[in-house]
Every structure is written in C-alpha cells, then in structure tokens.
C-alpha cells in the first residue's frame, strides 16, 4: 500500500503544474503543498494522535481539498459535512462518527461546540509532505454517510487498503491520465464519486476543475469543457438529460475520457453524446459507496454492437480484485442469463456499516466461493450476466414492484414510455394507494398533454398490470444532492 507516498511523490514531482482551477483561479501543486503543510502544522498542534476521525466542512476551495490530503498524511480519516445539509442531519453524523475536531475553510465556523480548525486563517508553515510513519492499511481514509431507508444515515468506512485497491484497479483499465490532463470534479464532497475526481488527477499531477456551488451545474460543466478544453470527466447521467436539448451546440474534440457512474446510462443518449465528443473514449462504470467508488467497467463501442437492456447500457465486467456474483433469494448463484441480485466482494469492499450491526446482518453475508469462505455485499441491484461476462443492470431490487402478484421491472415501463414519447424523460414509480395496493405511476418531464395515445401504445407492448394507472407531469425532474434524479420526491406526487 503506497497510496499516501504516491500522493506525496506526485505533488512534489509536479510543483510547477496546476493542481486546481477553482472559480477561474489556478493553484499549482506547490501552492497546494503549502496549504497542506499549513493545515498539518495546525493538526499536529491541536489534535491528539489517537483522534483519527475528523469532520470536514465541504466548501469549494483549495483549503478543503488540501485538508483531505493533510488528514491522510497524518493517517486520519475525513467525514464530509455539507454546510447546506439540514443541521440535524449533520449533528447525527457528527455524533455517530464520534467527531471532536472539524476542519472548516469558512470565514466563520459552521459548527459550534467542537474543536474547529479554521483552515483559511493559518500561518505559513514549512513544507512537509512526508506521511507519518504509523499509517496502516487498515486505517480509515474516509467515512461517507449515505441516506438510510429508515431515515438514519448509514456510515460507510473505507480503509486506505480499499482505496489503494480501487486506484490500482482503475489504472489497470488503461484509461490514461497524465500531468497534461484537465479533469472535471463535479461532485459534492459528500458523494464518493468526488474521491475519484480529485484523487486520480492528484496521483498523476493533472489539473482539477471544480464547480462553484452557486452555479448551474450542467451549463457550467459545458463552459469548463469548452473554455478550458477539459480532457477527462466523470459525470452522473442526469447531466446528459439536461444537456441533451443543447447537444448540437457542444463540440469538444479535446475530451479524451468521458465516464459515467451513479445511475443507469441510456444507450441512445450515449450515442448522441459521443458525437459531441468525437475523440473521447466513453465508459460506463458502476459501483456502490460500499465497494469504494466504482468496481465494474464497460467501454462504449463507437461502431455499435453495445449491449443494453431496456435501453440501459451494460455496466460491463468487474474490475481487478473485485468479485461479482448474481444470486437468488437464497444466496445461490443463478445461471448465466438469469436475473438476480448483484453481490460484490474483494479488496474494495467496506468492512461494514459504521457501528450498525443490524444493517450489516442484512447487507453482508458469507458464502463459499471457489472453495473459499467469502464475504459479499448485497447491492440491491437487479442484474443479469451474459455469456461474455458483461453485467446488465435491470433496476433496483426494491423497484421491482409486485403488482397483483406479478413482478414488475419499473425500468421496462420507462423504456417503452420513452420509446413512445420521443426523447422525453420519464420515471415509473410504484406506490401504495389508499386501499394499500400497489399501483404504478408515471412521471413525465414535460408540459401537460393528452396521454391516450401513449397508453394505447403501452398496451400493445406491456401486460395490463404494467400499464401506469396515474400520470403526472413536471417541468423538470428534481435532483437530490448527489445530482441524481430524486425518485423519492417524485413518489410524493402520488397517493
């Protein structure tokens, strides 16, 4: 595990290269090293060596990114705290993680009653990028709290070993990154895709372009791509839905890699997007926070022959050191081509939810795999694998509604609705009505229109129990803080 010393080396080797571009202002790796060193000095004087889990206020500035690297060099983990999240949620997270010290780059501290280090106001210190000598592979790099279905956030702790395993597996995919690259970082730091978006560039001395919080994300991304000729971008597919009406205005020949993660990636939109980025390799990567950022990969083929299911591009094959299996309700592996829940194992897998034995019992299980007792994580994703080992995403296991006793995949309803509605975006929702039976609702991103024709067409393609019984229109789909379509909010439209 050389992750931390690799970070050190890359920073030192690239002093004269740009590390960040934040609000049109550049910071070199030398500047970055200086900020890291200043924060280190403060941590060494005011934080006990044994205190390893530290809160981090997630602002969009050099100090916040430097804080992460600083904590790692000190062998400590960060827990991102988004100042825009409800106060109660942040306090629940702080309490659960046992946070005493918070690094905060704001002018005035966001959280009272903790040992806050205001990272913008620190005196200059001598540059010191040497990791402390007591860092072990099993030490934590971060804990991300994801929303739990019961309302209490679940903490996902990730060790340096898992993070290092992820970076090694990523490099093995052959997507090349050098210190000449310009990379997009579009994610809130409370979303683990952000870890990829800053860590991969830092490890290669590339420049990271962030998005100010007060900007409209999708149009700002477009400007960064065009004005700064970005070469590398990981995005959520929702961005494409917003950009789609403007695809004819986008031409970015400098883009070399365009990766997608976090949601189902529609094949037709990907085809159109590929024309906006004539020279880019497009890839669909997949993985839950529990398995460190992402753990399967598929490279889109420009010449066609891409695998898809219900219009959703395949998520490809497991990356190095990750094992994927698809199981039935009794944890038995299903035959090739059969449906089941995707389960993951390997170096990237978390040791389990933070202090949450109950959830751990639900989500993790041991199973004999190739003669070895192996721990697997249930993703909640319904998948199937084909003869060549490519995994097709069918939908969430929980979205697999039971209607009148029939199993229904909501993605199939979405697929046929979109096909009928020419490029309109739709979401199918299963909800319980007043009689406590499950109905299917369809939300269409559009002005209101007559839906008789749509329903007639659906009836020619779907069995009667899959036809939506209620339809709602919204002008724009709401997004959650991770930038994905907020299905929970859409569900509230039905009752």
């Amino acid at each position: 595990m050389n992750l931390i010393s690799n970070i050190q080396k890359s920073i030192e080797d690239n002093y004269d290269h740009n590390a960040f571009c934040i609000r049109n202002k550049y910071y070199s790796y030398k500047d970055f090293a200086q900020v890291v060193s200043n924060i280190r000095q403060a941590i060494q004087t005011s934080v006990e060596k044994t205190e390893v889990i530290i809160g981090l206020v997630t602002n969009d500035d050099i100090e916040t990114y430097a804080s992460i690297i600083t904590l790692w060099m000190e062998g400590k983990a960060y827990v991102p705290l988004n100042p825009e999240f409800p106060v109660n949620r942040n306090h629940t997270v702080i309490k659960q993680a046992g946070i005493k010290t918070i690094l905060d780059s704001s002018t005035d501290k966001i959280f009272n009653n903790y040992n806050t280090i205001l990272t913008k106001k620190l005196p200059a210190s001598e540059i010191n990028l040497c990791p402390v000598d007591h860092i072990s592979e099993e030490d934590l790099a971060y804990i991300f709290f994801t929303s739990g279905t019961t309302g209490t956030p679940k903490g996902v702790p990730i060790t340096f070993n898992s993070l290092s395993g992820f970076t090694e597996a990523f490099w093995k995919l052959g997507y090349e990154l050098t210190n000449a690259d310009r990379c997009l970082q579009m994610f809130e730091l409370t979303f683990d895709l952000s870890v990829f978006s800053y860590l991969a560039p830092i490890l290669k001395g590339a420049c990271i372009y962030t998005i100010p919080k007060d900007e409209i994300k999708y149009s700002y991304i477009f400007e960064l791509m065009e004005d700064y000729k970005l070469t590398f971008a990981l995005m959520v597919p929702s961005i494409l839905h917003y950009l789609r009406p403007y695809f004819d205005e986008i031409d970015c020949p400098d883009m070399k890699y365009s990766l997608f993660c976090g949601e189902a990636l529609p094949l037709d939109v990907t085809e159109e997007w590929s024309k906006c980025l004539p020279n880019a390799t497009i890839a669909n990567v997949y993985g839950p926070t529990e398995c460190t950022i992402f753990c399967t990969d598929y490279t889109y083929k420009r010449k066609g022959g891409n695998k898809s299911h219900n219009g959703v591009l395949t998520i490809g094959k497991d990356m190095f050191d990750t094992t994927t299996i698809i199981v039935d309700d009794d944890n038995n592996e299903v035959k090739t081509g059969e449906k089941g829940e995707l389960c993951l194992s390997g170096v990237q897998l978390t040791s389990g939810y933070w202090k949450n034995e109950e959830k751990n019992k639900e989500a993790f299980f041991f199973k004999d795999y190739k003669g070895k007792e192996t721990r697997f994580y249930r993703t909640g994703d319904l998948c199937t694998v084909d003869e060549e080992g490519d995994i097709l995403y069918l939908g969430r296991v929980d979205f697999q509604a039971k209607i009148q006793g029939f199993r229904v995949e909501l993605s199939e309803i979405e697929f046929h609705s979109k096909a009928s509605l020419d490029k309109m975006n739709v979401v199918a929702i299963a909800f319980d009505n007043a009689m406590n039976t499950t109905e299917i609702g369809l939300v269409i991103e559009s002005q209101k229109f007559e839906t008789d024709q749509l329903l007639e067409e659906l009836k020619t393609k779907l069995p009667h129990y899959m036809i939506p019984t209620q339809i709602r229109f919204v002008d724009n789909f709401p997004l959650n803080t991770n930038g994905k379509t907020d299905r929970k909010k859409l569900k509230e439209l039905f009752s």
């Binding site: 917003y242 403007y246 205005e249 002008d475 724009n476 709401p478 997004l479």
Partner: protein, 79 residues
C-alpha cells in the same frame, strides 16, 4: 421592446413558476434574492421566459443570467 416591458414579462414568468411576487425588478436582482429560485426552478423559469418571448437561449447564455439586468440584455439581443 422597452426594458420595462421586458422586465414586466420576466416578473410574470417568475410569478407563474414561483407562485409569488415578493421581489423588486431592479437590475441587481439575483436568484439568491428571490424565495424559491434555486437551480431546479431556474430551469423552469428559463423555459417559461423562452416561451414568453418566443426565443431560445444558447447553453452559453444560461451562465450569463446572473442577475435581472444581464437577463434583460440577453433577451434584448434575441428579439
């Protein structure tokens, strides 16, 4: 079209999307000053304004619409 007329039409669009008119239509008005004008309603407001003036914004225009004054001048350039 007169600036005042453009502003009137814009505030109609804002009112129809946001459901209130608790804002002053001066040039310095920004999304932060108006209740409910966030990144989501921004897109609905943009669509509404496009309809009202029968114009189409370019992707690049969207980032320029930082305050009412710049919104008015972008619209003036299109009608």
């Amino acid at each position: 079209m007169e600036t005042t007329e453009i502003k009137e039409k814009i505030s109609e669009a804002l009112e129809s999307v946001l459901g209130h008119s608790n804002f002053e239509t001066n040039d310095e008005l920004t999304a932060q000053d108006v209740d409910g004008w966030d990144s989501l309603s921004h897109m609905m407001i943009i669509t509404k304004i496009e309809e009202q003036f029968d114009i189409k914004f370019k992707l690049r225009d969207l980032n320029k619409l930082k305050n009412l004054g710049s919104l008015v001048s972008v619209i003036q350039g299109k009608i």
